[in-house]
Amino acid sequence: MDQADSIAGEQKRIEDDFALLEDTRDKYEFIIELGKELKPMPDEQKIAANLVRGCQSQVWMTAELDPASGRLALRADSDAIISKGLVALVLRLYDKRLPAEILANPPDVFEAIGLGRLITPGRSNGLYAMVNRVRQFAEGFGQAAKA
């Protein structure tokens, strides 16, 4: 697979984006910008069934399998801007990817950009839960594709 169109390639691009940001506050301000830019989910999809469990803020996520390409189409939103920015990064990594590719590529980029401590299970931002939810979708649709 072409490096430019792979999760690894996207991880590299995110790393490059963050390379210019020196202190943690700049990084957060960038994440806030990403949060503001993320296209909101329609209200009718912001329902309990789409909530990601394990986030202190409300984070909603949906996934559909595009039958033609076999790729997952992900959408997400949050009522907190920082969580929304973080989920925007998660979407940059995993949206429109094959389930097998998602499962083969853990989100190492957060460690690389110095935000590794955000992705532990006890953190209230829910990044860990968001990534887990994407992986559950990938597992579910991966199984369905095989069956």
Partner: protein, 413 residues
Amino acid sequence: MVDRPEAAFDVAAIRAQFPALRQQINGRPLVYLDSGASTQKPQAVIDAHARFYEHDYANIHRGVYELSQRATAAHDEARRKLTRFINAASWREVIFTRNATESINLVAQSFLRPRLQPGDEILVTEMEHHANIVPWQLIGAATGARLVAAPVTLEGILDLDAFAERINARTRLIAFPWISNVLGTINPVDRLIELAKDRGIPVLVDAAQAVQHLPVDVQGLGADFIAFSGHKMYGPSGVGVLWGKLEHLEAMPPYQGGGDMIEHVTFEATTWNEVPFKFEAGTPDIAGIVALGHAVDWIESVGIQAIARHEASLLATATRDLSQIEGLEIIGRAPDKASVLTFKLGDIHPQDVATMLDLEGIAIRTGHHCAMPLHAKFGLSGSARASLGVYNDESDIAALSLALRRVARTFAG
């Protein structure tokens, strides 16, 4: 209650006794504004805890040897200190638990549950911490009794008339917080207890947010039970207290079975130890209990009245400063408040507020603060809460105020 009436209060000297406060977070001096969740510990308490393990540690009770007797004496001494601290009539009325939550569960299971019939009621308030809701719901589900909540006004004050109206012939217990952990409201405990006593209904006061902020005299109070935690009163985590009237405690069955709570055991039948040991099954957190005794000494050395005055003045400053921030709304505007300042900042999610404050070394709490029904009442899914301790000063409030203005700018547009 020992209090030096005109104790000179020097916040810098007090702050210097808390080693955890002498650190930088994200390159800034720590501003700790989460004492409502748990307080930091003074050096005297930390040292007492360590010293006990270094010199006096052994299991308590029934030890013939010197070390066990020393440990037992230290443990007994802690109970005497707690007895004095809340002015209990007897040390037998002071039961050590893990925390206020366990104290309330003990009363629910051991005192109230056997008294409940289907259709009976337990009266609480809308400003309850979950610890003063769920234990009653559990026994309600088991017995067919019902939990009733007295309303709180939008200012954050208990509606006394509505409270009184909800007391009826089926009310079996009344429970309320002395101070609300979200609103900071100091409830009129004397009046509430009087309303209950007029009808002969037992009362439990959740004093988890009270004992560290104001003088407590259980004999004057007239409640039947009070519950509080050590970790919110400058003591260690893992130790709490249930105070109950001796007549109740003696009549109640044990809460948990095990060592220490028995008098005589055979496989056919067991008899119980006397109060308070009947309720203290198994080896307790001995070092934690001893250190809690030292936390009491420490509070008394500063003076609870002096602490109350300092915190009240700081809360007034904080309320005034934060009210001037555009878009900031304070939740809980009772005239009688202590230590707690809960707010929302425009439409900014409380979690975003707290995350940005953390970058500046400021620790506040966000979420529902274990009071989801209260947040639902105010139409909120969560809020941000700054809460004060004895070591906070004007510079903490200034840092908070400045940082909140910066957060408002960051999220604008």
